[in-house]
Amino acid sequence: MTGPVPIILAVMLLLIFLHRAGILSPIENIVLAVFSPVQRTVYGSGTRLNNSYQSILMFGDTAKENNELRDTVRRLTEENVQLRALFSDQQALALQERFLTTTGYQYISAHIIGKNPEANFQAIIIDRGGKDGIGAGMPVVVGAGVMIGTILNADDYTSQVLMINDSRSRIASVLENEQSSQGVVIGEHGLSLKMELIPQGDTVKIGSTVVTSGLELMIPRGLVLGEVSRVEVEPTSLFQTAYLKPFVKNDSLTVVSVISRDNDN
């Protein structure tokens, strides 16, 4: 050992002794205290840099994982939509069945399988037809007795339902007011409904419910058509017109019930 080695070793041994004796402790503590803020900053920078680096490294894996997760989400979304649709169908059917069972109507449940493609023709296609006992003129309801249309024509296995908001639809109806005003509910170009032939002197309140009158052979009384949203009164006319807001949106329907026979009442 030549050069400064003996001196360095001597210094080293002296420092070890001083450390053991606790003499160096104050100096060591000061050094640590002074360095501490700098170290915190350096450590923070190191951690951030490391995290960024790890993020970059994981980018490839993340992209792959992201694709897999996207596929999973897509699959689950599809399943979810199917399940929601099924649940919605079940709920709608349950509601319809409850109503129809309570009222004693004979009915045929059906799924909507399409819409008539012709323009300005508000008609849906259902998956039940003449073989199931469906015939023209039968009322089609959803939920707790909300009428949405009548059977326009029935093939063996499918039927077309003319929606009540179609301009060709005419339903004998009654307004739930003091006079139980009679009238006819007519479709308004697929957009809304209006009730015509309400006697001029009858009271028509906004929000009043309009139901079927039962005057038609196949349509029982009491099926809900809509509620009054606006009233049009012309002083020179014998009748007044009530504009109705339907209770259901046709676009959201999936299952319907066709009332095939009125109850004995």
């Binding site: 050992m1 080695v5 360095i8 070793l9 350096v42």
Partner: protein
């Protein structure tokens, strides 16, 4: 002279800070890089052996503050590593090529690892510590990653030093001691 001592002290301080607070935050094997050892090897081999010894002492003592080993272990290991490196450098790797520098770096790291690990084993044998102290032993880390990365660091420091401004060199080292520069001129 005083400025040079102060500059050296600041440099050692920075290296220890980077080692303790920056490199330690990275995952293996980056955290295996022993920057202080790489710097000491570089100084001892390339710059000046005596200066390398003082670096080993001062850097080691500073490192002791953050080490779980008994006080003096790191400093003494670094000093011993410097001495062995110098012996190898003057007696065996006399052609002074990059390969020699790399091999010296590898050998020095292994020496340092053996010294520090030897102390751990000794502590366990003497009953001063439990075997937990040996739990981080990894052949891959001790004989592959740490030496390789330290060698890479030595080479990087050498290139950085070669290309750095002469002012900085003068501030920290005595360029007259630099055999490489002497050889070039």
């Amino acid at each position: 002279m005083i400025i040079r001592i102060f500059s050296n002290a600041v440099l050692i301080l920075l290296i220890v800070l980077v080692q303790v607070s920056f490199l330690s935050t990275w995952p293996q094997p980056i955290s295996n890089i022993n920057l202080l050892l790489a710097a000491i090897i570089f100084v001892a081999v390339i710059i000046n052996y005596e200066q390398g010894l003082w670096w080993a002492l001062s850097g080691g003592l500073l490192f002791e503050l953050y080490s779980e080993l008994p006080y003096g272990t790191v400093a003494l290991s670094l000093i011993a590593t410097s001495i062995i490196t110098n012996l190898l450098f003057t007696n065996f790797f006399t052609n002074r090529s990059y390969y020699a520098l790399a091999l010296l770096g590898y050998g020095a790291t292994i020496c340092y690892t053996i010294f520090t690990f030897g102390v751990r084993v000794l502590l366990v044998v003497l009953g001063q510590s439990t075997t937990v102290m040996l739990s981080n032993f990894s052949l891959m880390s001790f004989f592959i990653w740490q030496p390789m990365l330290t060698v890479a660091m030595v080479i990087a420091i050498f290139f950085a030093y070669s290309r750095s401004t002469s002012g900085l060199k003068h501030l920290v080292f005595n360029p007259e001691d630099h055999y490489e520069i002497r050889r070039r001129h």
